[in-house]
Symmetry: D2
């Protein structure tokens, strides 16, 4: 690797490594500067590292990740992603937000972002529309920011490792309707959220980031819902930030996250 | 209440209140000093507060709670409870530890605590033995410190609000064998533990305390198990501490905890 | 209190109390609903509670707190406050943002908020301008969202209990220039932020909210600065949220916070 | 490194790396199993890695670190270290505890540990005594578990990188007497603790581990002191655990911690 960077007349800025001993996969992330253009740098790396047969992925950090956001009715995660993007804390560009509802259209457009309505109740047709949008906009990342539709197994497979979802989580988990009401009645002391890659098995993909917030007996159901929104948007934004920094690596059904 | 304290020639040292609006139950905890003996103080309180028909519970803080600990093979929670009791951080006395295994007998006895072996595989007989022990030792609190037997519904009901259990918890929950292996394969980023009152419905009682620890991809299954032990013992000891300070109130299926 | 609520034909929605034993001050926050208008309700309360000579403060929750935000060059705290206000998570209205720089003018105006430039290097004149703005807009709260000017002792006294400031904090504290560089060289593992009321003694006012973020050796100075921004804005927004919910009470040089 | 492990007929169990770009120091920790004895394994490593001129340190994990603990009057950190050692969660052996007070003698001896009284008020003489103890017991690590004496600059230098200290920390820091009283009067919402290597500059050595606990207005000074003890012992034990796992590397005045 050092030779590869030298071969680019480059300097290492950041470097992290991990060896996963379950799979014997070695994972490395290197941030470096070089006067070469991207494809020349890539060639230099390929040449130096070919004997290790790496899955090599080189990207220019001044090129934000093209990101498609899917939403339904709730805006808190979407707002946080747009806000942090405007603040330049997320290295992403958001050309399009798509939704199966029109509620958030004016909000999206007020930020200069194209809004795409997924009108049809025909899932296959909708996903075809999404695929077309993704091709046109060279989408690198799809974020389900409280998107309440289930994507088809085919769509999940085609975009494997590129779709991030968020959901709230309780200890213990509550089944059935109104999980917050159930959680309130049990008097849970913690509300959590999980960001994960989407796979054909619903909510079973590799976990990227999790966090919790503590609550007390004085929290009402409404307080819990508000806190749930807060922890959801923080965990999702953190996961997107890590993805946009190329700090997430999928190893088997787990993630290596250089946090 | 102020009148009651004045009626005892007393001073308030600590005072916390909460009104639960689901049940309209008003909860108050007052720590006060008085030269009266306990029963005289109790009479003064009863007299002043009779018109509110309170569920009044007065206790002398210099009288540690008599606590029975049940264990199986694992010692981490037991050790923490004994250690913190010796350090005088838990206001409890531990006259007896009972177990369905003999593994921890010498450890228990080395701390000057009587060890009771629950020899019989007959649950009813064991619980009769426990009840007798409890009567003889005026037990105020039973702590299941990784006790891997299920108590009968009758025993749970008889000792309602007096039995605290601990179990680890994941986000999401994992069913079936080897939960830590499953959690490792999904790459969970959080391990949690829950302390709760025991009710006839297994693991469904009011939650007292919950906490989590963060882990990264570099944690092995063994690291996760060790961290699980650590979070279990911390959460259980915290719950016992709160109970011994009379800071936990059961309101419906929830707890009010003056933490 | 119950009588006062009954006197308003009202229902209690939320109620919290605390007795501070250093000062013997009793603090209570009650959220209730009533068909009476605000001044009639206030009369009912005054009448019922007069004998306790309370410092009574009644407010309609549908009336957001009129908030003046002061900024300098950095926008992260301002953005978070505006964003959470738009999301209706902060019960405040922001009629005006004032600054000693023009950098954030267009951002502020794009959100439909009046921008006031504090042109003069004469502090007294600036504060006169601020006082006039406050009178015209019935300002209830002033937030120093990374405002890098020191307010005069007079201004602080006149607006005592109404000005909230945020600053980052390290363990240990670092004196002199470039605190983040110093903190990086010592390898601190935690970055903190403190929100407090402003008093004439710089950074010595009652603390409202504090939190920290954990960092590792792999964090660069830039990472630390970004994380510092993140924790600053979260702690400040939390403090403003608590203030706008009337959950903060000043007792001596401390705060009681019904969190 | 892989060659070195192969040269030992070994298997890698764990491996972590970090490149510090301030100093260009590359840090690596490898846990491996091998049938070779320690000195043969070391030779194999030296041979493979000689060209990188590494500061190589190979240790057998079944050999606990010989640890000298220094205490004064307070026992909470000492108890936690002994307790976790007995629980085999800390890979250390504690042959001796030394103190400038006799208060903890019987406690120490009841755990089968030799107690050494540092009788003399002559610091030089005491440190000579300590040095002799260290030689006799091949001490690898000195832990200051609330040891309230200042070690000489010479002693600190001689044992550089081998002495770990703990102290509580506030945000902000409080100077002068009774820091907990001052912190209570300011109403701090956080209490912290810092474990660090000891250098001749008091409390200025590289930081190993830091953590905080949250408190509310209802905490008394005594509650704060108790919580301070709790966070101190947790942070110190964590630092000792990391040290005993060889997970701490000193790079300049910072630490790299493979946590």
């Amino acid at each position: 690797m050092t030779n590869a960077v030298l071969g680019c007349n480059g300097n290492i800025i950041e470097n992290q490594q991990f060896t996963d001993l379950d799979t014997n996969i070695f994972v490395m992330r290197t941030r470096f500067e070089s006067e070469l253009d991207l494809s020349s740098a890539e060639s230099a790396w390929q040449k130096e590292l070919a004997r290790f047969q790496p899955e090599l992925n080189i990207r220019a950090t001044d090129q934000p990740l093209s990101t498609l956001i899917l939403v339904s009715k709730e805006s808190h995660c979407l707002r946080d992603l747009i806000y942090l993007t405007e603040l330049k804390e997320l290295n992403i560009a958001i050309p399009i937000v798509a939704s199966n509802h029109k509620i958030l259209q004016s909000f999206v457009e007020s930020h200069g972002i194209r809004f795409e309505y997924l009108a049809d109740s025909n899932k296959a047709k909708n996903e075809k529309q999404l695929t077309q949008i993704m091709d046109e906009n060279k989408i690198d990342l799809i974020v389900l920011a409280r998107y309440m539709q289930i994507l088809s197994a085919e769509f999940c497979k085609e975009n494997s490792g590129k779709i991030i979802n968020i959901h709230h989580s309780f200890l213990p988990g509550f089944k059935g309707a109104k999980p917050y009401h159930q959680a309130h009645q049990r008097g849970v002391k913690i509300i959590g959220a999980t960001a994960h890659f989407v796979t054909p098995e619903l909510d079973e993909g590799p976990i990227i980031e999790q966090d919790v917030a503590h609550i007390t007996h004085s929290a009402s159901v409404e307080d819990m819902v508000a806190l749930g929104r807060d922890i959801e948007r923080r965990v999702l934004s953190k996961a997107v930030k890590l993805f946009a920094q190329d700090k997430i690596f999928q190893v088997g059904n787990r993630t290596v996250v250089f946090n």
